[in-house]
């Protein structure tokens, strides 16, 4: 494929991914069905993983699918099940404070959009940004070995804490 065709393909792929992510995210925060929200979350997380792949970040993309779609969404579904939320429609999923949410979220979106266009409007990512898993692992286990170990201890502590919290007395 020529360079031009690759660029067009990248833009088309990004357009599809962005549409799926934005539409899915809007459904996650507006739907009246808790289980549907979890399933729309799958669409969002898969789209974000696809955008990682588009950026050439293969390891993070695959990890996103494994951890988020594979584990975290299942955790959410268990949470929904254990709190016995109704499976069907639920009227009061969005509270009375939704205008506050709009008042905060729309200025955030506006300011971020203006700032990003102002600051990075002309920056191009190279066409070939592929970064191999070996490079990631080299950096992770050389420069970031101690943070990596700390994070693993944190994860262990969090999981033990979750068990202690959720255990029946």
């Amino acid at each position: 494929m020529t360079i031009g065709a690759t660029m067009v393909a990248q833009h088309v792929a990004f357009g599809i991914i962005a549409a799926v992510v934005i539409a899915g995210a809007l459904r996650v925060v507006t739907t009246n069905n808790v289980v549907h929200a979890a399933l729309w979350l799958v669409a969002v997380l898969t789209g974000v993983g696809a955008s990682f792949l588009l950026l050439g970040a293969e390891f993070v993309g695959v990890t996103q699918l494994l951890i988020y779609v594979g584990a975290i969404v299942v955790l959410f579904l268990f949470g929904i099940m254990l709190t016995r939320a109704p499976i069907g429609r639920e009227v009061n999923l969005t509270g009375n404070s939704w205008p506050v949410g709009l008042v905060v979220a729309i200025p955030i979106a506006g300011v971020l959009t203006y700032t990003l266009i102002d600051a990075f409007g002309a920056d191009h990512i190279g066409d070939n940004t592929r970064q191999f898993t070996a490079q990631v692992s080299d950096t992770l286990f050389q420069n970031y070995l101690i943070p990596f170990e700390v994070v693993s201890v944190l994860l262990l502590a969090a999981l033990i804490g979750a068990i202690v919290l959720a255990r029946k007395e």
């Binding site: 992510v21 905060v104 950096t139 994070v151 969090a158 068990i163």
Partner: protein, 99 residues
């Protein structure tokens, strides 16, 4: 590709997540909205890593994915405790600290 394509996608995802955190009453839905925010941050990290041709962005994205897993675990346990103690996960009713 333009860097801004990814950054603006991240910004939109972040704003939607903030709206979800502020407007939802169900505790589990608030946690889902927090996931949206964390994903927006990850997109930014990986995009800037690609811009600067470094894998450090990806390393930090991996850290955030790990932290997100820990956060969901503890968060869902807290929501579960809330449900057990009050038989409801409606966050509007959690007003024990209100003066």
């Amino acid at each position: 590709m333009l860097l801004n394509e990814f950054l603006l996608l991240g910004a939109a995802l972040f704003a939607i997540g903030v709206y979800g955190v502020l407007s939802r009453r169900n505790g589990v839905m608030v946690l889902m909205s927090i996931e949206l925010i964390l994903n927006a941050v990850n997109i930014n990290l990986v995009a800037f890593g690609a811009l600067h041709h470094t894998v450090v962005g990806q390393v930090f994205a991996l850290f955030i994915i790990t932290i997100a897993a820990a956060e969901v675990g503890v968060g869902l346990a807290i929501v579960l405790m809330l449900y057990r103690n009050r038989a409801s996960i409606d966050l509007d009713q959690v007003d024990a600290m209100r003066g």
